[in-house]
């Protein structure tokens, strides 16, 4: 799968937490200019995969084997400082809940500047100019720099998060359920914005979601995860229309659609988890 524009490659990654496999032989690649969607239910390992890419595996999680190659460099075999320089700079992430991700006692302008100054060798005046560009990119007025996070709506906060993530022109942008907490019309604006930015900047995007209708709107490629395993991967058209895996088919079928004539929704067969 290593084409000329492969930017990030996860190879046979297995991670355990307390002896239990949370990621099991996960392999997929991200390509510049493409949106790859990672779909699955809670606990399937989507966020764990994202955290592994960022080198932010939670305490107690152990990489058993496998590697993550970023432009050919194994992220598990580099110095902490190098990784810190890649994270937030070359690989950026937007989290699900924009309110908890922002510092509540700092004005948002300062929070954006902080990221710019941490990664770019520029003066604070240049950083302020860069911040205005970024706010313009995410379609926010420059005045909001002096606001605190609680003064902004959910959609505006998520735009601020995007501005921070885009601060250093990352090669890889990871979005973890960025619109789940938002109203539908706000969700649409954010998704449109992501597509526009993607068209211009040609970065590789990893878009984590549990909603296949969002996948349909935004993704080029899709990976479906279940219980730490990638059960299906392929192009969006293939995975949505002719899935190989029964699990994918069921996951698509259980979502109510507009104009749905079904009286009951199909339910996933699941083996009952012992408690």
């Amino acid at each position: 799968m290593s084409g000329s524009n492969t930017i990030l490659e996860i190879k046979n990654l297995t991670v355990t937490l307390g002896g239990k496999k949370v990621l099991d032989d996960v392999s997929f690649s991200l390509f510049s200019g493409e949106v790859t969607s990672l779909v699955g239910e809670s606990g399937s390992g989507k966020t764990m995969t994202a955290l592994a890419i960022l080198g932010l595996l939670p305490y107690g999680a152990v990489r058993e084997h496998g590697e993550i190659l970023f432009i050919g460099k194994n992220l598990f075999n580099i110095k902490k400082e190098t990784l810190r320089n890649i994270r937030g700079n070359r690989i950026a992430m937007v989290f699900q809940e924009p309110f908890t991700a922002l510092n509540p006692v700092m004005r948002v302008g300062i929070q954006i500047d902080e990221t710019i100054l941490a990664h770019m060798k520029i003066t604070s005046r240049e950083a302020a100019r860069r911040r205005e560009e970024l706010l313009n990119t995410v379609k926010l007025p420059p005045e909001i720099s002096s606001n605190y996070p609680h003064e902004l709506s959910g959609g505006m906060r998520q735009r601020v998060m995007m501005a921070i993530a885009l601060a250093c022109d990352p090669d890889v942008l990871i979005l973890d359920e960025p619109t789940t907490a938002l109203d539908v019309s706000v969700q649409k604006h954010i998704l449109d914005l992501i597509k526009q930015i993607q068209d211009i900047r040609r970065m590789a995007v990893l878009f984590i979601t549990h909603d296949f209708s969002i996948v349909n709107l935004i993704a080029d490629k899709v990976c479906v995860m279940r219980g730490g395993i990638i059960v299906e991967k392929g192009t969006k058209g293939k995975v949505l229309k002719r899935p190989d895996s029964e699990y994918t088919r069921q996951l698509v079928a259980c979502i109510p659609r507009l104009g749905d004539k079904r009286d009951r929704l199909p339910v996933l067969e699941r083996t009952r988890v012992k408690r």
Binding site: D183, L240, I255, R257, G259, R264
Partner: protein, 245 residues
């Protein structure tokens, strides 16, 4: 059935030392609708449109500033986030049994009713009533919240975003369960959601709320096929769709 006539709920800002009472926030501003017995009224709208205020007015948690609400029989509510709506220090049996306290039943009868309702939400298994909310998954917790809401055999159940925090697969299970229970107990639902797909699946009649007002009320068929209000069309257009295949 539920009958809501011209209800308004205004909130006033807390008055400072020198400030006057000022302009109220019109959370609900003249809303009228009715839901026949055994049917579902779906209420859609964005955050801040007044949906949850209506939920609180219909359940009697809030008193309307003006207007009339009439319902026949007991009403109960299921909230969006089951983890915060269930007391973490109480066992499931106690949580559901507490709702029955007002009926002053004998202990054995309470137990029997709790077990019956756990059966109805398909959560019955040995020892389940002795567990605490944190020992369950999100979907199971929502089943507990539903059990608590139906244990007194209410006529009306208000469902305030009951599936918004759940995975799509769990969402499907809970929606099916709500339909089954409604048929069995002839319940009248007020179903509140921001997801128009979910509302279309559940509701017989749909009301679209914007800034405290119902801008459109119509049958499910009409509202999705021929939306009249511009705002309804805007909400429908915002939904990401599957490509037609």
């Amino acid at each position: 059935m539920i009958q809501v006539e011209g209800i308004k709920k205004y909130f006033y800002n807390k008055t400072g030392l020198f400030s006057s009472r000022g302009e109220p926030v019109k959370a609900v501003d003249g809303v009228t609708f009715s839901v026949p017995k055994g049917k579902t009224f779906g209420l859609v709208g964005e955050s801040g449109s007044g949906k949850s205020t209506i939920a609180k007015l219909v359940t009697g948690v809030l008193k309307p500033s003006s207007g009339r609400i009439s319902l026949n029989g007991v009403r109960d509510i299921v909230f969006q986030d089951p983890l915060s709506s269930l007391n973490p220090r109480m066992r499931v049996g106690e949580i559901i049994g507490e709702a029955l306290r007002i009926e002053r039943l004998a202990k054995g009868e309470t137990l029997r009713r709790v077990n019956m309702v756990l059966e109805e939400v398909r959560l019955a298994s040995p020892g389940v009533a002795r567990k605490y909310p944190h020992q369950f998954s999100g979907g199971e917790r929502q089943r507990i919240a539903i059990a608590r809401a139906i244990v007194r055999r209410p006529a009306v159940v208000v469902l305030d975003e009951p599936v918004s925090s759940l995975d799509v697969s769990i969402q499907a299970e809970i929606l099916n369960l709500l339909k089954d229970i409604q048929e069995k107990l002839r319940l009248t639902y007020l179903f509140i959601s921001h997801d128009l797909r979910v509302v279309e699946f559940m509701a017989d009649t749909v009301g679209v709320m914007k800034a405290g007002k119902l801008v459109e009320v119509a049958s499910r068929e009409e509202i999705y096929k021929a939306p009249q209000h511009e705002y309804t069309r805007h909400l429908l257009d915002s939904i990401p769709k599957f490509s037609k295949s």
